[in-house]
């Protein structure tokens, strides 16, 4: 179940606001009540690993808001993607979305995000923490994954492998996502839609919602005009990623990676995975709209996105 650590890696000098070790997540354990975990912004996570030539499921850091400072205990190749945060190595400013060589003793510092909320730091070979139920993903509520079931702490050592590269790569700027303060979430209707009147559905798809400050990895709570269902609750049932729950106060909650596996609120639809990543990059107060999309159109978009990611070539920078 566990993987031996090398004992060396990054020494955490300053843990940052909320920094978590994540691989793609924990799957196949819903029957125990275990949720997925995994990166909230899968696209930025993908690029961080790809830039250091890792497999897709390698364990990387998800850095929310920023404030992280690490000391490399050996030579390592890293990449940082996602929400822009000012990054320095030994005080010298660095670019994001490219591979970076670190040498033993280097100090890397991340400031605070200027747009978006979460960035990803991958190291070549991936972080070598112990697996719990076949995954390294941290789910704080369950106390599983990471170093000790919670966020990265000061003085932790994040174990990884030593690596050196002579061929640095970057992702050209036209392929990089941009982070804004307003997103449209494409939503597949169908999930207990019958419990929402035509009027409520129209209101849901035409209103503007604000991200509440009570938003986290479990779900994003939104505030806006109340959307009413004709029932208060349903018999508890399984909940999938992106499901939009409407509790009796009419304020939607979009469920994300750390959602509870079963629940009893009615759901109006389900946000597609390409857009939950954008939602998770929003801070409280940001604006959200919903737009209906058919299952077929959603599948087309998701397959196209995956094909584009695969086909995109990295640029050599030396």
């Amino acid at each position: 179940m566990s993987t031996a650590s090398t004992g060396l890696g990054f020494l955490v000098k300053q843990a940052g606001v909320h920094t978590l070790l994540q691989d793609l997540g924990r799957f196949g354990r819903y029957s125990l009540g275990l949720t997925n975990g995994g990166p909230l912004d899968k696209t930025a996570f993908y690029w961080a690993n790809r830039l250091v030539d890792n497999t897709a499921n390698s364990c990387a850091l998800e850095i929310s808001i920023g404030g992280l400072s690490l000391i490399a205990q050996m030579d390592m190749v890293i990449a940082i993607t996602g929400a822009p945060m000012p990054v320095t190595i030994n005080g010298v400013e660095q670019a994001l979305w490219c591979s970076i060589q670190l040498y033993a003793g280097d100090e890397i510092r991340l400031g605070y995000s200027t747009a978006g909320l979460r960035s990803y730091l991958a190291v070549k070979g991936g972080f070598q923490t112990a697996k719990v139920f076949a995954s390294r993903a941290t789910v704080c509520r369950e106390g599983l994954g990471g170093i000790s079931g919670g966020p990265v702490k000061n003085n932790d050592v994040l174990p990884c492998l030593s690596s050196v590269t002579e061929h640095h790569v970057s992702l050209a700027s036209q392929y990089r996502p941009t982070y804004s303060n307003e997103v449209t979430l494409r939503t597949i209707p169908g999930y207990q839609q019958k419990h929402f009147s035509a009027f409520s559905q129209r209101m849901f798809y035409s209103s503007e919602f604000c991200v509440s400050q009570h938003s986290d990895r479990m779900g994003y709570r939104l505030e806006g005009k109340a959307i009413n269902a004709d029932i208060d609750g349903i018999i508890s049932e399984g909940i999938c990623h992106g499901a939009v729950q409407i509790p009796s106060d009419g304020q939607p909650i979009v469920l994300l990676n750390d959602r509870q596996t079963i629940g009893g609120y009615p759901k109006i639809g389900s946000v597609i995975s390409l857009d939950t990543g954008k939602l998770a990059q929003l801070s409280p107060g940001a604006k959200v709209h919903f737009e209906p999309i058919s299952m077929e159109a959603a599948h087309n978009l998701i397959h196209l996105h995956a094909a584009k990611l695969k086909a995109t070539q990295l640029a050599f920078i030396n």
Partner: protein, 237 residues
Amino acid sequence: MLFEQVNISIAGEDALIVYFADSVSGLAFEKIQWATDRIRENMADTLVDLIPSYTSILVVFDIFVTDHHSVRKQLRSLLQHSENYTPIQAKVIELPVYYGLEAGPDLQRIADKSALTIEEVIKVHQAQEYMVFAIGFAPGFAYLGEVDKSIAMPRLSTPRLSVPKGAVAIADRQTAIYPSVSPGGWNIIGLCPIDMFDSSAEPCMPVKVGDKVKFTAISRNEYLALGGKLAQYEEGE
């Protein structure tokens, strides 16, 4: 045919939900157990995971391997061949409980509401076997049902900030054991010394969906001898 009322609905880009009934019943639940096993056996190559619950199964599939049309067709065909349906013999798991006011701060309120004595409430709770209807909310949290109407209790209007590990509790006609310390609004009647979730154990839970649970009263000393701890209760504001 047993499964003619099955309703399959879109839940998300990679999920369908199969409804077996509109209300909770032993028969619907047995069908769900049977179907869960069939789906697991026959669709392993396309499934990501399954979540069986009271009246439904959420089926999560890999959209890079299949699509919702094919999964729906597969599910229909699997469920149509229900002539092989045989009710599953549930395993009965006995769990010890230290009942009493020290361990169960809500016993008095349940007794007052039901016009029973505390001893009678405890007796009613032990009188039957409970079905494990669902697991969720937290790792190892098993929803057991259904308790006798006489001891059913609504959730607390203000949930406790902290419920101890092992707390045996009632909400409406459900009963459960808190697998770890957490906030909670269920009515606590006792403490169970058995670990309901241990990530390092194999299996990591003593029960699974479809099993039955029987509670047996133990004394304070037996509870402590089995590794149980006594906890302070932190009330909500």
